[in-house]
Amino acid sequence: MTVTPKPSRSRLDAEPVSRRDWLGLTSLGVTAGALLFGLVGLLRLPKAAVLSSPSKKFRVALPEGLPAGEAFVPPGRAVAVFRDARGVHAISITCTHLGCLVKPTAAGFECPCHGSRFAADGSVTKGPAPRPLPWLKVSVSGSEVTIDEGTAVASGTKEV
């Protein structure tokens, strides 16, 4: 086999990709692919399979003489529970805007953070909140009420 001398080039010229570099380029590509593949797998790490959040379902006894239409907020829970002649219902008091806790008032609810106001049925009357406060699933047994913060029900649903 004869080797034809290549025309001399300046050291500053780019070298053409020769056949020999094909192997090098392929292995570089494979390495990059493998690293990327591993990385994508690792990206699942930040999301735990089971979240460490407290249970969404809880049971609570309503106070004896809770007047109709008056809110009862179980300590440490972001829920307001109401009881009247037609039954019991619970409304989430986590503001649908940015998650502050709204305060039950005579007219409905009021958010301290950016001034959203909600009517007694949870619908937005003022401010930046994009959605009404959701009604939550309740089930009543005697004086005890079980509330599921994870399940929303249609506005107006009451349980006896």
């Binding site: 500053l12 930040p46 999301k47 735990a48 979240l51 460490s52 959040s53 407290p54 300590p75 440490g76 805007h97 940015l98 998650g99 502050c100 806790l101 009021e110 958010c111 301290p112 953070c113 950016h114 001034g115 937005v124 009357t125 003022k126 401010g127 930046p128 994009p130 959605r131």
Partner: protein, 518 residues
């Protein structure tokens, strides 16, 4: 045993070596000796891995204080100060919801010098944010983003984002009421794309908002998972990212030919440095940088004599040291007169009222009070995108390196500042006085409120004004000047309203003295 003559000689040599050891240690570390000649002043720079981010010689234009106002070095100095004080705080801080608050209290009240260190850390963080924003403004107003510096402008933007991220993550660590509710709000801003996906009814299928919040908090609630994530970001990931980006930023300045200077800078400088400038390069060859042949682009002084440069050691380094000392002085002085705040222990059942983020986020919070998504994500992203595009849209070359873009620029900046300040005042006054869409039409769809609110209208007004400036001045640079100035004005007004004029329930008050007591 009798010592042989040979043994005595070896002992003498041993003693001499021992005596010479300190000097040899010194010489092995500092090979070129004291920087007293042109040659040793040069090796002083390029023989040191940290210093050689600088060029050996610095152009006299870069050394004028009106070129940079020292703001970049001030940002870097403030970062160094937070780094040192932050490591000291880590000796006592415990990242757990049960212990964090108490450990900050210990640092504040029990640990010797703890309060001072904590105050300096807090103040240096504030100084850093101010310095970075002003530094960006100076780079903008001297057109320093223009070719070949587009890339460094983008690195700068990343540095801005990381700086703000450091502040935000640090804010949660004390685990007091302020921290807890500011982070609750912040995490829900990350979730705010739901405002759109809910309105379109696709959240069940596609929920980037929920994903972002989960990524940040590691849970449904702000608790242990969130605290450890914020802690890790604050003490490790973001500082490392910032240090790496800063190294690229500094290196790039050198590779881009030093700092931006006007094309005729050489002619405008006095032919020789002032007579009392010492030392100047005396032995330097007329053509330096032999490597210039293989380095692409405009390297410093490829064809010029070195007469307009001075050795970086000492001229540049002493100036940098001066800025570092000044920054330290400012931070310590502020730390001595004003304590870092610490409210009551975080209480997830009682929102802080008003719940305010750190001051530089209060402009965002003001916009968020109209629409969570637009104010918290949409408009900030548009602003960042706009800033990133500036160097690619303004391809003009005239008056690069001049403050305000040369003659005619300053009146335009003044006029734009007026627009930038007046527009948000007017629009806020209207919204505060008359309310907004939801109050007039309670049944209005959320998408309309998201699209049309004071924050989006303000952005649109700024954009329209800038387009008008481009047409009127026949120059993209004029539009960029107008837009950047407007955004600075908007930032100032919204931040001021959020800081001074918003009280409980985010209601407008002329003064905190009028706040109702609760």
């Amino acid at each position: 045993m009798r010592a042989s003559p040979g043994g005595r000689a070896a002992l003498a040599e041993f003693r001499a070596n021992l005596k010479a050891a300190p000097r040899r240690l010194y010489e092995s570390a500092f090979r070129s000796g004291a920087p007293t000649t042109d040659r040793s002043r040069s090796t002083f720079v390029f023989g040191n891995v940290f210093l050689h981010l600088h060029a050996v010689r610095t152009h006299r234009w870069s050394l004028r204080w009106t070129t940079t106002l020292g703001l970049g070095v001030m940002s870097a100095s403030a970062f160094l100060i937070t780094l040192v004080t932050g490591v000291m705080l880590m000796f006592y801080y415990k990242p757990s919801p049960d212990l964090a608050y108490q450990s900050i209290k210990d640092i504040h009240f029990v640990v010797p010098t703890g309060r001072l260190i904590r105050n300096i850390h807090r103040w240096a963080a504030n100084v850093m944010v101010v310095a970075v924003i002003l530094h960006m403004a100076r780079a903008f107003y001297t057109s320093a983003y223009r070719s070949p510096r587009e890339y460094n402008w983008l690195i700068g933007l990343l540095l801005l984002v990381v700086t703000l991220g450091l502040s935000f993550t640090g804010y949660l660590l004390p685990w007091d009421q302020l921290a807890y509710w500011a982070i609750t709000i912040g995490a829900n801003i990350a979730q705010s794309p739901r405002e759109l996906t809910d309105a379109l009814g696709v959240t069940g299928l596609f929920d980037p908002g929920g994903f972002q919040r989960l990524l940040l908090l590691g849970s449904d609630v702000v608790g242990q998972e969130a605290l450890i994530r914020f802690y890790l970001l604050h003490v490790m990931i973001l500082p490392l990212a910032l240090a790496a980006l800063a190294a690229v930023h500094f290196w790039r300045i050198r590779k881009d030919g030093g700092l931006t200077r006007p094309a005729d800078a050489d002619a405008r400088l006095a032919r020789e440095p002032a007579a009392d400038t010492y030392p100047v390069f005396t032995e330097a060859p007329l053509r330096t940088y032999h490597l210039a042949a293989v380095v692409r682009g405009r390297t410093p002084a490829v064809n010029d004599g070195p007469e307009h440069t001075l050795p970086s050691m000492p001229h540049l380094f002493y100036a940098e040291l001066g800025v570092l000392m000044l920054t330290l002085l400012v931070c310590v002085a502020l730390a001595l007169v004003s304590d870092a705040p610490l409210k009551e222990l975080a209480n997830p059942s009682v929102p802080e009222n008003p719940a305010k983020a750190p001051w530089y986020f209060l402009g965002l919070q003001e916009m968020v009070a109209f629409s969570a998504f637009m104010g918290g994500m949409g408009i900030p992203l548009i602003v960042l995108l706009g800033l990133a595009l500036i160097p690619f849209l303004d391809r003009e070359t005239s008056a690069t390196g001049e403050w305000w873009g040369g003659p005619g620029g300053w009146p335009l900046v003044k006029r734009s500042a007026l627009v930038g300040l007046a527009a948000p005042v007017a629009i806020e006054a209207f919204a505060i006085r008359f309310g907004w869409l939801r109050e007039w039409f309670p049944a209005i769809p959320q998408l309309v409120v998201t699209a049309v609110n004071p924050a989006t209208l303000l952005t649109a007004a700024y954009a329209a004004y800038s387009v008008w400036c481009i047409r009127r001045h026949q120059s993209a640079r004029a539009g960029a000047l107008a837009l950047f100035t407007c955004f600075l004005g908007g930032f100032v007004v919204l931040t001021a309203i959020g800081t001074y004029f918003r009280g409980p329930n985010w209601v407008f008050y002329w003064s905190p003295a009028d706040w109702p007591t609760h």
